[in-house]
Symmetry: C2
């Protein structure tokens, strides 16, 4: 049963992890996409009315429900185990970002999916923002001189009560910051190499709440500021200085402007585009697993200087 | 000139970084190996009597000295820049462990070497210890149930005054510990995946002085203890419990025993074997770049819990 979709039939998908991101993004995207039929949920915190719901993926596998694919929207720390069980059961797997808690885990899942002939899609939703493709195309013909990434948001607004984000392995401010890195690695013509990092850990937490990072990309310096305690105007912006002037990719990749002109602007269609891409990967029998953004974060932790800052509570 | 060796002629090699590891290991190995001719040194802290010495690799490149290859024995933090200059100059490159400060850097060097048709060898000297191959062969026919890695040494004895080891990016206790990981990843049949880590940072340092790590490899749990403040009997041991009894790989991979029998024991020929392998790679036009050990360390930093311990001074 679980070996992929026949042509024309929707993929029967179980959504694992019914938290904020599932309700805000995954469920609306799935409901609007004729390529998918949402057939079940797996979650410890409730399901969707009218759908079979399980509290353990093992119960889904043991049930007689026919499932082609799962999409994992749980916190990253437990995702390798869930994805391993799913692949073992013959399900195609889509992973929220970051794909797993470690680079080694997602690399191992990629090997396992290949061996089983299943599709694995490690998603980076910000790469699907409306103006990311336009930014890559604009940069392709120019020389980058320098870039500044400003990713500043209020954790209390965007991640209320999500304690796991500040636990060991939860990435802290890199949970949003990795979105910026997923965009930067998609649009810059040269690899992004981290040179130095400073990570600020709240005294009562195991993940950083702010970070400043210096990279090189070809001959250009790229500086990034990630701040999880930013109130007031939130910023998810990348400012690129080139031989042809300044390019600003703002609103998390939705809008692209020069100093004088708006080049591109679009609504947020990130999750619908991710699911379109997942359906296409399954149809082609392909996988898409780019480790680079998580690799950059691991490298930042590896070489980063640490400092302790005030305790944080939600 | 710099495009590899003609058959029979020794490779003209410049050794970059004349510190403790160069004098203890690289120079004796090179002097004993007819495949190499040591033609120059690059170091800020003195050279070798009778050989041209440079303080900057750019001066070596600008000189009229004919060089086929360089071997980098400098601290890892600056190695990506040196290796980039060397590859640009058309030199084959051998890197001490860890190859670079970050995983991203060594991955980028591998791409660059491939594009230039040059050999890049990211060495893991402990993999060349006398009994590592015997341990891998013995394990291949058995089922691993669990393993314990004990890597405990006195930093003051083995790294006297090497302040860079405890700076950000210097790896701290993972500088020796990565040797254990390079062996474990070479002998275990299944990938080593880190599950949790605890890292102890001296209050006055940016790199950990001790670590405890939990891994999975297939169904087996692997526990590791790394300690840089261990006085008395030093230990570089891996104890493997299998369905066919206990196997102990000790003395940093030199000796292999079961509870009753010595299976293998040999003298330390790690660096001579590394240079033999480098010469062979250059002759074949091949590279050998395994990121796995450094990847595991980066993943340990990424998910590790941190604690602060007493300040450390040499």
């Amino acid at each position: 049963m679980q070996n992929g979709s026949e042509a024309g039939r929707p993929l029967r998908l179980a959504l694992i992890g019914i938290g904020k991101i599932a309700r805000d993004q995954h469920i609306p995207a799935l409901n609007a996409d004729p390529s998918f039929e949402l057939v079940a949920t797996v979650s410890r915190s409730g399901g969707i009315e009218g759908l079979p719901s399980f509290t353990d993926i093992r119960d889904l596998v043991a049930s007689d429900l026919e499932v082609d694919a799962v999409s994992l929207a749980t916190p990253p720390q437990g995702r390798h185990t869930l994805a391993s069980i799913a692949l073992e059961a013959g399900y195609h797997v889509m992973l929220e970002k970051p794909p797993t808690a470690t680079v080694g885990e997602v690399a191992e899942l990629a090997t396992r999916a290949r061996a089983k002939g299943l599709s694995l899609f490690a998603t980076w939703h910000s790469r699907e923002a409306a103006s990311v493709g336009a930014a890559r195309d604009w940069l392709a013909g120019r020389t980058l001189r320098s870039a500044r990434i400003e990713w500043k948001e209020d954790i209390r607004v965007w991640h209320p009560g999500q304690e796991w984000i500040l636990e060991a392995g939860g990435l802290g401010v890199f949970d949003p910051g990795i979105n910026a890195l997923s965009i930067a690695t998609a649009i810059l013509p040269d690899p992004l190499l981290i040179q130095s990092a400073h990570l600020a850990f709240p005294a009562n937490r195991q993940a950083p709440i702010a970070a400043s990072l210096s990279f090189r990309s070809g001959r250009a310096r790229v500086e990034a500021t990630f701040d999880f305690l930013h109130t007031g105007t939130q910023s998810w912006d990348i400012v690129l200085e080139t031989d042809a002037g300044r390019l600003v990719l703002s609103d998390g990749g939705q809008r692209l402007t020069t100093d004088t002109t708006e080049i591109s602007h679009g609504a947020n269609e990130e999750y619908p585009r991710l699911y379109t891409r997942f359906a296409s990967l399954v149809r082609k029998g392909a996988s898409d697993v780019d480790l680079t953004p998580l690799q950059l974060v691991a490298d930042a932790f590896l070489i980063g200087e640490r400092s302790e800052v005030a305790p944080f509570s939600f």
